[in-house]
């Protein structure tokens, strides 16, 4: 390749990276909603629990574009024994010249948006999403009778998640007897101005609040493809928005949640497999430096440290992370 690799001086302790997304930008604010509160009972039946998460991180810049790395993690829990498969990191060089090709590779090209309008960082997100969907597809196809946990929500119709793709994923999972559950760490869905996760605070755990009318909500092409719940799984734990495959009956959805309760370790009310998947896919600062070194060595790039403009301008007040 030759040339230079420009890296930022601002390398924090943990870079973290873009990890899927918690909840696709769905600005829902329904006026009427029907909610059913159900108390949960743990079901200890040894159902395997599998979680998938993907992270991406910007490694640096070249004279032609950006360099990023993507890594995915699959973590499973089978009768209390945990295992994992980490896939990557895969480095990508995204340039103005190759971004169309990249987006087409992702096959989620949004007809309304020309590739030329996409920022390079958006292409990074698309690639990350592509890998996430690929891992999800692999698990949906190869697992039977399992609970599959995703990070985020079951929202479709976004540029990187067409309705057809998500529908297909859910169908395959269902055919193999799997239940897909998506946990959102943060939700923007509000009811009467309040976050839906606030609705469950006062109820004793473990409990689940079913929000029936959200499934039918649509905004443009964006659709919620699952039954939306708010769950609080353990005492002292946090409430989360939980989307369960809309193709399975409510009772089966609640049973899947009860199986998580019975077969999974919960940390602050969050499933351990999903937590581990996130931890294993996330990039630490030392990994970013290692990948920078790998790329510089393999492609004969000279690493140049880009001074932080914010730091230069604002000194100690220029603290926001720069792309």
């Amino acid at each position: 390749m030759g040339g230079y690799l420009q890296v930022s001086t601002d390398v924090g302790e943990v870079i973290g990276g873009r990890s899927g997304e918690d909840e696709n930008a769905l600005p829902l604010n329904p006026k009427i909603i029907t909610a059913h509160l159900t108390t949960l009972k743990p079901v200890r039946d040894g159902t395997p629990i599998i979680a998938i998460d993907v992270s991406s991180v910007k490694i640096g810049e070249t004279e032609r574009g950006i360099l990023c790395a993507i890594r995915g993690a699959i973590v499973w829990n089978e009768r209390g024994k945990y295992g994992y498969l980490r896939v990557g990191p895969f480095p990508f060089h995204i340039t103005e010249e190759n971004k169309r090709e990249m987006v087409e590779l992702a096959r989620f090209h949004h007809p309304s948006m020309a590739a030329s309008l996409l920022r390079l960082a958006d292409v990074q997100d698309r690639l990350s999403k592509l890998m996430e969907r690929w891992l999800q597809m692999s698990i949906c196809c190869s697992s039977y009778g399992s609970i599959i946990l995703w990070d985020g929500s079951l929202t479709a119709g976004t540029p990187d998640t067409p309705v057809s793709l998500l529908t297909r994923l859910l169908e395959i999972a269902r055919r193999n007897g799997n239940s897909i559950l998506a946990f959102s760490k943060v939700t923007n869905v509000r009811l009467l101005g309040r976050r839906i996760t606030d609705l469950i605070w006062k109820y004793p755990p473990p409990c689940v609040l079913r929000l029936d009318d959200l499934t039918t909500l649509m905004k443009g092409q964006i659709r919620v493809m699952g039954n939306v719940y708010v769950v609080k799984l353990c005492r002292g734990g946090l409430p989360f928005r939980l989307d369960v495959d809309g193709g399975i009956p409510h009772s089966q959805g609640v049973l899947a949640i009860e199986r998580i309760l019975g077969n999974e370790i919960l940390y602050q009310g969050y499933p351990e497999t999903l937590r581990l998947a996130h931890i294993l896919s996330t990039f630490t600062a030392s990994e970013v430096i290692g990948i920078q070194r790998f790329i510089a060595e393999r492609y004969n790039l000279k690493v140049i440290v880009r001074p932080s403009v914010r730091r230069m301008l604002f000194g100690p007040f220029g603290t926001r992370f720069e792309d």
């Binding site: 390398v11 945990y82 295992g83 498969l85 931890i279 430096i289 290692g290 790998f294």
Partner: protein
């Protein structure tokens, strides 16, 4: 390796796992543009403060503990990540500067961080650079690079040396090596052997004679080392009475009179001395004091009236023309007798040196605090070395040697110490900075020694002291012998 930081005389160098550098290694930071090089010595190796490393370790430990997993990493990026995580910071001390291939004293020069290259400086190259001569070679052993470290015996000549380290690290072994090295080059050596460790210097490990055998003389006080009182000069006997036996001033005056009286009559002997004290007209207390000292001299068995069984220590030393070592075996001597014997030897040696009957003498004193008087320490570092007495102290208790001795020592041979208090004491040595001593000495394996001072031209070097084919006598006598341990194993098996 890359130059990272300089603070005072310390530079920090970033090093990667495939660059093998350990404590004590020398590095040269070369700046081609200026034609200069900075010689530094690694005194500590630390992990580089890589950002995110704590999170990485936490994640890995969690994954290792209760998860089975694998990584699909087709680009093998993990190896680069591990490479970064294992990077190290070498804390190094600036030892000198090279310009045009010659050593210069200019530690203020700072090489370029971006332009300079860093490489390991082999000890052999360092020795050539700093011009450590080998005209009178003593091979001490191997450096960590497996090259032989040979010092020049002249670096011990006229010098005050200290060999110290905790028990069982090889101090006596090194001193034996130095003694034989000096003997090899024709030097006269006197060893004050507290535990009889040096008595086999003339024998190989298998008990046969080695090439030094004829030059090693073992003197055991009371056995083959007795002195005729008539051959002892008054100043020597007065030193013994004053410093070893604490004879008060008035009593000393009376003793002098008695001695001169007997000398003038030509009847100076142990027997006549005893009788003279008994019959001397003086204060009863003085008489008692003199008589008690007389008995101490008598029971030391060092003195005799029988000329046939006595030796003239001065003549004995002067006969060793081609060099040799006299081992004074003090292993069976009581503390008081030890003091009398040592005081006699030092008095005699001083007399011989002052009269130029001896040119110079190397004295090896093990655990000297057990038999040397307080004032003698100052004598050694001030007066005695001008007479030609060059002392090497050997001790495992560094606090028994006073700070001013450390400060004026020309060579220090340091073995391992881990005790903070001991490290603090030895770090007072003026030949090197505290950090070097504390950091390197703490991690020295047994038989490895840090050399400081003239022998290495003030470039501290770690050496693994070589084996000697001599019979070992310094081993501690144990109750649980090998045979008993083997028998014990059988007993355990039967249970």
């Amino acid at each position: 390796m890359r130059l990272y930081k300089k603070v005072g005389d310390t530079v920090q160098i970033l090093s990667f796992p495939d660059e093998e550098v350990e404590k004590g290694s020398y590095l040269i930071i070369e700046d081609e543009k200026t034609g200069r090089g900075l010689i530094t010595q690694v005194i500590d190796v630390q992990f580089a403060n890589v950002p995110g490393i704590m999170e990485e370790l936490l994640r890995d430990s969690a994954a290792d503990e209760f998860m089975n997993g694998r990584d699909f990493d087709p680009f093998n990026a993990a190896s680069h990540i591990l490479y970064i995580q294992d990077s190290r910071i070498l804390i190094s001390k600036i030892r000198g500067m090279v310009e045009g291939g010659r050593l210069r004293v200019n530690n203020s020069w700072l090489p370029s961080r971006t332009r300079s290259t860093i490489r390991r400086l082999p000890i052999d190259s360092l020795i050539k650079l700093v011009r450590i001569e080998r005209k009178f070679p003593i091979n001490l052993g191997e450096t960590r690079e497996s090259s032989q470290l040979v010092i020049d015996a002249r670096a011990l000549d006229g010098k005050l040396n200290i060999i110290t380290g905790k028990k069982g690290t090889g101090k006596s072994h090194l001193s034996k090596l130095l003694i034989l090295g000096l003997v090899e080059h024709g030097a006269t050596v006197v060893v004050l052997d507290l535990n009889g460790e040096y008595t086999s210097l003339g024998l190989k490990a298998d008990g046969s004679k080695n090439r030094y055998h004829s030059k090693i003389h073992i003197l055991k006080p009371g056995v083959n080392f007795k002195v005729a009182l008539s051959r002892v000069n008054l100043p020597v006997i007065m030193r013994i009475l004053t410093y070893s036996l604490d004879l008060p001033g008035i009593s000393s005056r009376e003793f002098r009179r008695i001695w001169r009286f007997l000398k003038e009559r030509g009847s100076l002997s142990l027997h006549s001395l005893g009788e003279a004290i008994m019959g001397w007209k003086c204060n009863q207390h003085v008489k008692d004091a003199l008589y008690s000292r007389y008995y101490a001299l008598l029971h030391s068995n060092l003195f005799t009236d029988n000329l046939a069984e006595s030796i003239d220590f001065g003549v004995f030393l002067r006969r060793m023309k081609g060099g040799g070592a006299v081992i004074i075996d003090l292993s069976d001597a009581s503390p008081l007798d030890r003091k009398i014997i040592v005081e006699y030897i030092l008095g005699k040696v001083q007399e011989l040196l002052a009269q130029w009957k001896l040119r110079a003498l190397f004295l090896f004193a093990e655990e000297a605090h057990l038999y040397l008087r307080e004032t003698y320490w100052d004598d050694i570092i001030t007066r005695m070395r001008h007479f030609g007495l060059f002392t090497t102290f050997i001790t495992n208790q560094p606090n028994t040697i006073r700070e001013n001795i450390y400060r004026q020592a020309d060579n220090i041979f340091l073995f391992n110490f881990v005790n903070e208090h001991d490290l603090e004491i030895i770090s007072r040595a003026a030949r090197v900075d505290v950090d070097t001593v504390v950091s390197i000495v703490r991690d020295l394996p047994p038989h490895h020694c840090l050399l400081l001072g003239d022998v290495v031209k003030d470039f501290p070097i770690v050496v693994k002291v070589r084996d000697l084919d001599i019979q070992t006598m310094g081993e501690t006598r144990l109750f649980f012998t090998k045979e008993k341990v083997e028998a014990g194993k059988g007993l355990i098996a039967s249970l």
